[in-house]
């Protein structure tokens, strides 16, 4: 079934009539060496069905054993999200028949998640702070990967058959579920994106996952519902899957709001169902009708014994938490003496890590910030890439900043050096050399240029000698022209005055 734009309600009208409610479920693959319940490797991109064993294939008689490192990561994630850690919890079997799960059940946690009741605070682009409640973070295992072959489009509905690769089956997953997010109105799509971004940054700081949305190590399912404005009872929700980028999170929520708005305004009902996001069209389409949790017939996993993380262990893990993103932002603001606006620009440009690395490489914070937030951000924008993908490293930027600080380069020349590095001409010093960009700092060379200029404009020279220092500008200009802008204008001016004073 495809949707025409006529099936969408104008976004402003959606907001006039309805309040959106969001619920976000993020699955994150842990970057452990091995799977959740067996010793198979988890590396991405291996030949199909070469990282499997009887346990993750669900062969009869195979016994799972929990990966302690994965439990550790789960607890650390829970602590970083301000959650309580369950003193006692179990795994459960979630029964369903689908070829991506060779066991015919997924080992998950049901009513006893390892972490629950936390929160994550996010900052939107304009500085508005939104506090998102975390319902739970629980442990489970990933499914295999299916490839749908044949049919008209290769998409599942036209597929002739499916091919299964179980390398991913059993990879440790943490599912992080928010409490319902209400009251965000028009900003719901933006909040959804900001939440996934903040969570990604947090997980990256914890070093528990690759958090690569493009490789599926971070995946977001977006639950969206609408209720009449001012109502308190939530409407029926849909769950949109297959949202594989931060931008898609925002688009999917916005699209689903407009689609549901159109259905409701026309007097229709929203089906509780899974929907699939199509990156190319930015629309969602109906997937399977959701099975109810009763249908999953959850029961405690008999092959795994309960977990009871001791308070000592949990406190010991708390001491391993790194500086978390919001703490870091605060510290950086103090250390680098940034205004709220400067900090926000830095964060919004996605430049914090790069600036910090540039400062670590010896640059002054202001200079490092100016390069990344101003000059290089524009360059990244015009190339349509992320800042970090530009072919210049923090240490190279630091070197350019050092050359400016030492007076070897003017700002204008420095930009040319950076352009040279971006163009693949090598290290900054090599670009200075090959493009002949060094500031003419040799006073002897400058004296020669100054004497030439004074000789060429004897009337000006006479005025300066007579005490009209402002006339020196004309000589400085001539010298700068003669040196092709490679002289330090301030130094030239000093030398001109010195020459005329004698």
């Amino acid at each position: 079934m495809s949707l025409s734009t006529a099936d969408l309600l104008d976004y402003d009208e959606v907001l006039e009539r309805f309040d959106p409610v969001l619920g976000l479920e993020v699955h994150v693959e842990l970057s452990t060496n091995t799977k959740m319940f067996c010793g198979c490797p988890t590396a991405f991109g291996a030949e199909p069905n070469t990282q499997v064993c009887p346990v993750c294939l669900g062969l009869p008689g195979a016994l799972p054993v929990v990966n302690g490192k994965a439990v550790e990561s789960a607890i650390r994630i829970g602590l970083a999200l301000g959650c309580e850690i369950a003193p006692w919890c179990r795994f459960a079997r979630k029964n369903y028949f689908y070829p991506d799960m060779p066991k015919n059940f997924q080992t998950s946690q049901y009513d006893e998640p390892i972490a629950f009741n936390g929160s994550l605070s996010l900052e939107l682009a304009d500085g508005t702070v939104v506090e998102v409640g975390i319902e739970r973070a629980h442990m489970e295992e990933d499914t295999g990967k299916s490839l749908h072959v044949g049919g008209a489009t290769g998409r599942i509905h036209g597929a002739e058959h499916s091919l299964l690769d179980y390398n991913r089956a059993g990879v440790p997953l943490i599912e992080i579920v928010t409490k319902p997010i209400t009251g965000t109105g028009a900003r719901a799509p933006e909040v959804a994106r900001a939440y996934v971004t903040a969570l990604r940054d947090l997980l990256r700081a914890l070093d528990v996952s690759d958090v690569r949305m493009d490789q599926g190590s971070l995946r977001c399912d977006a639950n969206v519902s609408l209720m009449p404005r001012g109502a308190t009872e939530f409407g029926t929700r849909t769950e949109t899957k297959n949202v594989n980028s931060l931008r898609s999170v925002e688009r999917a929520v916005r699209h689903e709001m407009s689609r549901q708005g159109a259905v409701l305004v026309a007097g229709g009902e929203i089906m509780q169902e899974t929907r699939h996001f199509d990156e190319s069209t930015g629309t969602t389409s109906a997937g399977r009708r959701k099975e109810t949790s009763e249908d999953y017939r959850y029961f405690p996993e008999p092959d795994l014994v309960p977990m009871a993380p001791s308070a000592d262990w949990v406190e010991q893990l708390r001491t391993t938490l790194p500086e978390l993103p919001w703490e870091r932002r605060k510290r950086v603001q103090t250390d680098w003496q940034l205004s709220d606006l400067e900090l926000r620009d830095l964060v919004n440009a996605g430049a914090l890590d790069l600036v910090a690395a540039t400062v670590d490489a010896g640059a002054a914070p202001d200079a490092a910030r100016a390069w990344w937030v101003n000059y290089l951000s524009q360059e990244a924008n015009s190339r349509g890439v992320e800042l970090a993908e530009l072919p210049i490293s923090p240490s190279q930027v630091a070197r350019v900043a050092a050359l400016v600080a030492e007076g070897e380069l003017t700002n204008k020349l420095a930009r040319e050096v950076v352009d040279g590095v971006l163009a693949g001409e090598g290290e900054p010093d090599a670009v200075v050399e090959s493009r002949g960009l060094a500031v003419v700092s040799d006073d002897t060379a400058l004296y020669a240029a100054i004497d030439d200029a004074l000789a060429a404009q004897p009337d000006v020279a006479e005025k300066i000698r007579g005490g009209k220092v402002q006339a020196a500008g004309a000589i400085v200009g001539a010298v700068m022209k003669a040196t092709k802008g490679q002289a330090d204008a301030k130094r030239v001016r000093e030398l001109v005055l010195e020459r005329c004073a004698g």
Binding site: N33, C38, G39, V52, C53, V65, V149, Y166
Partner: protein, 99 residues
């Protein structure tokens, strides 16, 4: 006293992707009823001072080190597959469903 209906058996059969005939629905409903009644008798014995338990052995926190152990080769993995293509299990197309 537990009681399981034909409809419930049909629903369970559908969830388990089992094709069950009309006659079997009655037969299984009766059999499942016997099983449920037997299990229910355990509940009668359990007093308030007996906590529900899911494991017979009082073990907890059994964890494994995060170390890679050899698994199966692709050949071994696919040896029992009814159909294989490109190193993968080949299964019938899945109608209108996606996990």
């Amino acid at each position: 006293m537990p009681n399981i209906s034909r409809e419930e058996v049909a629903h369970l059969a559908r969830l388990a992707r089992l094709a069950v005939t009309e006659a079997e629905l009655d037969k299984f409903a009766g059999q499942l009823d016997v099983i449920l009644q037997s299990v229910a008798r355990v509940g009668e014995v359990a007093a308030d001072d007996i906590p529900p338990t899911s494991h017979a052995v009082p073990l907890r926190n059994v964890f494994r080190a995060d170390e890679i152990r050899p698994g199966l080769t692709q050949e071994q993995v696919l040896a029992g597959a009814p159909s294989v293509e490109d190193g993968r299990f080949r299964v019938p197309r899945i109608l209108g469903e996606q996990a």
